[in-house]
Amino acid sequence: MAETTAPAAARPARAAALAPRVKAALVLFVLFALVPPVVIALDDPFLILIATRILAYAIAAMALDLILGYGAMVSFGHAAYLGFGTYAVAILSSYGVSDLLLQMLGAILVSALFALVTGAISLRTRGVYFIMITLAFGQMAFFFFISLSAYGGDDGYGLSQRSTLFGSRVLENDVTLYYVTLAVLVGLFALCHRIVGSRFGRVLTGIRENPVRMEAIGFSPFRYQLTAFVISGCMTSVAGVLLANQAEFVSPAFMSWHRSGELIVMVVLGGIGTLTGAIGGAVAALLLEEVLGMMTEHWRLWFGVFLVLMVLFSPRGITGLVAQLRGRDGA
């Protein structure tokens, strides 16, 4: 049913554009896989940690793109899920559960519950309301962890060790952690790709284009959007689990609203609604941060200037600019 109702003009174009996009992602993944040998050759082990951080954020940005790009839901509270992931590591390991997969499961369960409840309330609204409400719920989670004094409150909590994988402590090795993160990224990319191409993904895109029409032909936008919202939140929390292992430290700073904003920036930089773009955007944004950070302590100033200029000097905003570069009419 979704097949026949999707905008006829956009469909073949997207089917054709999908293949190169996947190719681009594969090229990115191969490049990522080559990072550790290069870094070892350069003899700068700190770089591998930076690269792991970038991959973890790439997962989060991709998860956000799933609802931002394909569902037009501007969630400004996604850092909360990063936080659930990081605190799942801290809290579960303090109770002796140090297995990475179990910690991911815990993070996913909490995130699913939070996303289900807050999403159900947020999705009753549109536009500006949705942005502000997701922001407020994100902030609620932020304050919750600030007052969690057992885990350091505002100051955060240092992890005594990284997660274990099937009982072994292989993740203590930075390179192993990097490749595990890469594997998760590749796996989740494949999953997102499947979701986007599925009937569910088509309905979601249809709702983005015209919710009223989708409703008229018998789809409930709310259910599809809420499902996508929950999936996206769960994936983001997986990124949080990896991030906690990368930093070996958790703190509410992972879930501040600035972080949510940065996630949106990553998605938009790479081009929304492409998945591959979100990964590229995460790399670009974090590298820009690192480079600006090396040049000046006031890198945020220049990052902000860059953002404002990009929005102002692209004729229809960044969203329009990206669509233009890709040669199709932006939605």
């Binding site: 931002l68 501007v74 400004f76 807050t118 309330i121 009753r124 609204t125 549109r126 536009g127 500006v128 309301y129 942005i131 502000m132 409400i133 922001l135 407020a136 719920f137 902030q139 609620m140 304050f143 919750f144 600030i146 007052s147 969690l148 004094s149 609203w257 904003g261 949106i264 920036v265 938009v268 929304i272 006031h298 945020r300 100033l301 990052f303 902000g304 200037v305 860059f306 953002l307 404002v308 990009m310 929005v311 102002l312 229809r316 905003g317 960044i318 969203t319």
Partner: protein
């Protein structure tokens, strides 16, 4: 107990009045221009820094407050002309990104110009000290002055919005801005005016609170989110909603922080109650927001969701 209640209620009203000053501008900008402005909290911070600077230069809080006003008008106008004006026709996503960029720029600029250490503003002589309220209870004069100043501004806004031509345009713009434009009103001018008014109100709130808070770069952030909650609860575009929402949020936030643990102690043992209370108190306003939105997705006085 009754004393504590009255004291905290007054604190709540004082916070509510401040939140209202900030939320009033924000709700108009949202309602009339349909612009998401994350940089609104920045204006509150800038107001506090202005009054700190001008008060230090002139040696008087009152001169500082007076000089802050034209500076706030200038900041509001410049922001509107340089950035915000170009965002009216853009998607919400573009607005979020651009104003997020502005927040970063403003926070770093403030750090560069004024340094990272917090500033303090001396309290005006005439408003320092406390007055007896009831029984042994004393309340700082300055906080009462904030409440009075805020209520006076709220009253002024009420008169302007309900009994002047400009107010009529504002109300019309919040309801249907296309129609206002079609009727021959210079919508560009109206927008610039609304934004500047909002900027001045937010700066004024920051200036008022400067003597009782430390003035630092983070001060706009927590207030921004609370203000969003106020605007969402009150309904976008509604000044009346912003006023009631601000008082509701502030009183729930203030009383919840104090009485939450006390009430919990009735059902839990003291240490668990303390812990649970500390964790629940900051979440109360968001739970309140969720409950109100669940019943009324457009807020208490919002026309459209």
């Amino acid at each position: 107990m009754a004393n504590l209640f009255v004291l905290q209620l007054l604190n709540g009203v004082q916070l509510g009045v401040l939140l209202f000053l900030i939320a009033a501008g924000l709700t108009l900008v949202f309602g009339i221009m349909d612009v998401v402005n994350l940089a609104h909290g920045v204006l509150y911070m800038v107001g506090a820094y202005f009054v700190a600077t001008f008060a230090a230069l002139t040696g008087s809080f009152w001169w500082g407050l007076l000089l802050m006003l034209p500076a706030a008008v200038a900041v509001g106008l410049i922001l509107e002309v340089v950035v915000i004006r170009r965002l009216y026709a853009r998607s919400h996503l573009d607005q979020v990104l651009a104003t997020f960029g502005l927040v970063m720029i403003a926070n770093e600029t403030v750090k560069i110009v004024w340094g990272v250490s917090p500033l303090s503003v001396p309290m005006p002589e005439i408003l320092s000290g406390s007055v007896p309220l009831m029984g042994p209870l004393q309340y700082p004069v300055y906080r009462i002055a904030i409440i009075i100043a805020g209520l006076a501004v709220a009253g002024g806004l009420y008169l302007v919005i309900n009994h002047t031509r400009i107010g009529m345009l504002l109300r019309a713009g919040a309801t249907n801005r296309m129609m206002v434009s079609a009727l021959g009103i210079d919508i560009g001018k109206l927008f610039a005016m609304v934004f500047t008014l909002g900027a001045v109100l937010a700066c004024f709130a920051g200036a008022l609170v400067a003597p009782i808070l430390s003035v630092d770069t983070g001060m706009g952030e927590s207030v921004l989110i609370l203000t969003f909650v106020v605007v969402v609860i009150g309904g976008i575009g509604s000044i009346k909603g912003a006023f009631l929402g601000a008082l509701l949020v502030a009183i729930v936030d203030t009383l919840g922080g104090v009485f939450g643990p006390i009430l919990l102690r009735e059902v839990l043992d003291p240490s668990a109650a303390g812990q649970a209370g500390r964790m629940l108190a900051p979440m109360l306003v968001y739970i309140l927001m969720a409950a109100i939105l669940f019943a009324r997705p457009a807020g208490l006085f919002g026309g459209r969701a």
